[in-house]
């Protein structure tokens, strides 16, 4: 009967016109709060009634996207060429019962507007997110959570919803009725239909008193379960982990109280300019030591004294307090990770390591808690979890976004590795594999979508990324087109010319390996100098007649070769005179400083495999040497001799590295961190466990243009791809590439021409063979080398 009535209404609506003219807009760019996801939609419609939504869904022949407050951060509200339903004017209270403590609202209403409606009745929302500007429909679609203790995902406070499906059917869904649709639409990011109404549970609006305390991270879990989780008096709770040590938290709870409020307002006043909060965020994110200033200056002031307020006040924050002065160069962005409660201590160090290594400008990491989700198909809380809300600042340039993609995928892997998940309303960097690992019921979700929306009408950037029922590939692009792609072609001569530079990795690697079990005086310092210049001569000979002379490169090799020569000559003389003498006094027993020196040598090698050597912080190691090794101890003479010589070495290198860094930046700028390669026979899920790999384009002949990391990681990724069956057609637009392998001294290559070979100085019976390999045969040569158990030392990425 209801369906018949709806059809009647629809007919009337269609006769009058598909929708009121005032509600229509022309093609437009829609964006979200970050301002980094502009999407050109076909048209925007601002419905004011269910009938308009139904009419639009039924009458529009193309794609439909649904937008609420636009606080998602990865294009979850739109896609190109779609009709966007902007729900923000569909915002009425439909029904309210103080006795039943429930409210029914249109989905475009903001939480703030509901609060204004229920506050006079001494009621509060049972669950909502921290900020009240969001629309209910948006919050339902992402299944938000807040800071409520003993609660969890928003779905737990939803009694029922009404939803318009792809065929225009209007349905009621609840945990008891159309259950499957209820649990897929909530947290379904607009894939199943347009949620038009929701009935939400309410709670008492109580007075709450803030209690805040600092504690080590290690003590937090016990504190939470002893004093917060089991305390029925706690209404809100969160804990902020202070970057960049990530070992201290400020745990803040809001407890029920009978005390009179110290905050005069029942709801946060509207239209504040929040200059103080915004200035604080600016200090934290931009000033030197901004993080420390927050921890030791701002927060102690913010959290001082007694504070009693209404629950609705604490639930009515305005996102404007987070808005920076400008988003032209950089923007504030959120991410969120969900970790099973018993694995908190396992996740945080991993997170901290990634954020510090990738130099992420973290403003805050807030820990929240959520109980298990009751059954949404895209549940982020598959068990009781701690949520880690990561708030950070990033640049908006393409390179910045790529860099964010890399560390995001690392963080997602860390979350998945600890049995957790990540949140979907943010930038869509995770791979397909990561998405399915974090949301194991996604397959069932997609099957249901196929059933309810067979034409894939409801789309947005999120589902464009992960739901591809009939994805097509672009037409093949001719080779000439590839060459036009910016950054595709690199100078082929560089595959050879970079070898001497790489020797400055191999030699310290030998040195670090040698120091693990030997005294420094035995290392062949002078032999290494000879090998460096030998390799330089080799590559010069290999490229001289084939490629133009590269002046810049040869000058650079001369500079680094001279430094290397001076360093090794000085060390060689010193270690063979003073070093041998102090070794003799110590009777061959190693000191703390010997071990420290060996550790730093290894750490340095690990570092320069992925970063330029001059970025290594010798000054930090100098400080660590004095912090971590004792002043007294056995073999005092050797101990202090090592302490002094290592100190001088690190101090000199710290200063020299700074000089070279300044000169390099001035002369060359930042080096590319990625390169492109054309690959065939890619495995089913090529991006699986490959956070640094990206598909740039796919062609209909089965080829794929991949973006690969450079340097050491390039070799690792290439080896893994080849192992999975991938075949390279071109790398950086080139057809030949240099490969070095560590092989037995007597080995004669039949795999590819050997350009030159030299012995490994600290490993008798081994040599380094440099092979000139056609890119088309790279897989074959690599496989043959690995079959013989030879180490593929490096593939030289131009």
């Amino acid at each position: 009967m209801a369906r018949l009535m709806m059809r009647g209404l629809l007919l009337v609506a269609l006769l009058i016109g598909p929708w009121p003219a005032a509600a229509q807009e022309q093609p437009a760019i829609v964006n979200d709060v970050t301002q980094i996801n502009p999407i050109k939609v076909d048209r925007i419609l601002k419905p004011k009634s269910i009938e308009e939504v139904v009419a639009a869904v039924q009458a529009h022949p193309g794609l439909v996207s649904i937008g609420g407050g636009r606080f998602s951060m990865g294009g979850q509200t739109a896609t190109e060429r779609a009709l966007q339903l902007d729900m923000r004017e569909f915002d009425k209270v439909v029904a309210f019962s103080k006795e039943a403590r429930e409210i029914t609202v249109q989905s475009g209403i903001t939480w703030r507007k509901i609060q204004e409606h229920i506050d006079p009745h001494e009621l509060s929302l049972q669950i909502m997110q921290t900020y009240a500007n969001f629309t209910v429909g948006g919050s339902l679609s992402v299944n938000v959570h807040g800071r409520y203790v003993g609660q969890g995902p928003l779905v737990l406070s939803v009694r029922s919803i009404r939803i318009v499906l792809a065929d225009g059917t209007l349905l009621k869904a609840s945990p008891a009725e159309n259950r499957e649709i209820f649990y897929s639409a909530i947290g379904g990011y607009g894939a199943m239909g347009v949620i038009v109404e929701a009935t939400l549970a309410l709670a008492d609006n109580l007075r709450v008193e803030r209690k805040s305390q600092l504690m080590p991270l290690a003590a937090y879990k016990e504190h939470f379960f002893k004093h917060v989780r089991t305390n029925p008096g706690v209404v809100f709770h969160n804990a902020d982990i202070y970057p960049e040590a990530y070992d201290t938290v400020r745990a803040t709870s809001y407890l029920k109280t009978d005390k009179p409020p110290t905050v005069g307002h029942r709801l946060m006043p509207k239209d504040q300019d929040y200059w103080l909060e915004r200035s604080a965020y600016s200090v934290i994110s931009e000033w030197p030591f901004g993080k420390a200033i927050r921890q030791f200056v701002i927060d102690p002031v913010v959290f001082r004294g007694e504070r009693v307020e209404w629950r609705n006040y604490e639930a009515s924050y305005d996102v404007r307090e987070l808005e920076p002065a400008s988003r032209a160069q950089s923007t504030f962005v959120l991410q969120e990770y969900f970790i099973p409660v018993d694995r908190l201590e396992e996740f945080v160090p991993k997170m901290a390591e990634i954020l510090n290594r990738r130099r992420v400008n973290v403003i805050n990491v807030s820990i929240r808690h959520a109980i298990q989700d009751p059954g949404t198909l895209l549940a982020w809380a598959r068990s009781e979890v701690f949520a880690f809300v990561l708030y950070y600042k990033q640049g908006i340039a393409e390179a910045d976004r790529k860099a964010v993609g890399v560390w995001t995928r690392e963080l997602v892997d860390a979350a998945i590795g600890t049995g957790g998940s990540y949140y979907l309303p943010y930038q869509i960097h995770p791979t397909d594999r990561q998405f399915h690992a974090a949301y194991p019921n996604a397959k069932a979700f997609f099957e249901l979508k196929q059933k309810l929306d067979p034409g894939n009408k409801f789309r947005n950037k999120l589902w464009d990324a992960y739901y591809k029922p009939a994805a097509g590939k672009p037409l093949r692009v001719p080779a000439a087109e590839l060459a036009k792609i910016e950054g595709y072609k690199r100078d082929e001569a560089q595959t050879y010319l970079t070898l001497p530079e790489w020797y400055l990795v191999y030699s310290p690697d030998e040195y670090a390996g040698y120091l693990k079990t030997n005294e420094p005086s035995g290392f062949p310092y002078f032999g290494s100098i000879g090998q460096f210049w030998g390799y330089y001569g080799d590559v010069y000979g290999a490229t001289r007649d084939k490629y133009p002379f590269n002046w810049g490169y040869h000058v650079m090799v001369f500079v680094i070769g001279s430094s290397y020569t001076v360093e090794n000559a000085l060390k060689g003389v010193y270690e063979n005179v003073v070093g041998r003498l102090s070794e003799w006094f110590s009777g061959g027993r190693r000191t703390q400083e010997d071990d420290f020196g060996a550790r730093v040598a290894q750490d340095y090698v690990d570092f320069i495999r992925v970063e330029p050597w001059y970025e290594y912080s010798f000054a930090r190691e100098l400080k660590r040497l004095w912090r971590e090794t004792g002043l007294l101890g056995p073999n005092l003479l050797r101990k202090w001799e090592r302490k002094l010589i290592l100190s001088l070495e690190y101090a000199a290198k710290a200063q020299y590295a700074m000089l070279i860094k300044l000169a390099t930046k001035a002369a060359y700028g930042d080096a590319d961190s990625e390169m492109l390669a054309l690959v065939r026979n890619l495995p089913e899920d090529p991006l699986r466990n490959e956070p640094a790999l990206k598909i740039v384009r796919e062609f209909d002949d089965g080829s794929t243009l991949l973006s690969l990391p450079r340097y050491e990681e390039f070799r690792d990724v290439v080896l893994r791809l080849i192992k999975k069956g991938a075949r390279f057609s071109e790398i950086a637009g080139n057809k030949e590439i240099l490969v070095t392998a560590i092989v037995p001294a007597a080995w004669q290559s039949e795999l590819a021409p050997v350009l030159f070979e030299r012995p490994i100085l600290t490993k008798a019976g081994s040599k380094r063979a440099a092979l000139k390999v056609p890119v088309e045969r790279l897989h074959e040569v690599i496989a043959q080398l690995q079959e013989r158990n030879f180490e593929v030392e490096h593939i030289y990425d131009y």
Partner: protein
Amino acid sequence: MNLAVNKTLVLGLLFILALVMGWLDAGPLRGGQQEATLLGIHATLSAVLVFLWFRQDAFERGYRTSLGLKAGVLLLSVLALPWYFYRSRGAARGTLAVAWLVAAFVVAMLAYRVGTWRG
């Protein structure tokens, strides 16, 4: 123009700086990029203090300093100062001065170590 500075005071400031940096390093500013920024500040302030000491020393000795030497002391003092000592004092007294330089360096690092102490 020479603004006279007290060389002993400059040395004392170097040691106090190392002490304070040790305290900050092990306490409020530990970890991540803050530690790196602190290192940068420590290195810059130390370089300035060393340069002030060098400039005063050269002035007292009437040693004419070239632009290259000034830049060297500011940017690569580990190498430039010993060279200056040998040039300004001769071989024997220069060697002695280098020994004092090493001793001052050790004292600064000890001050840093004391600063990191947390009981």
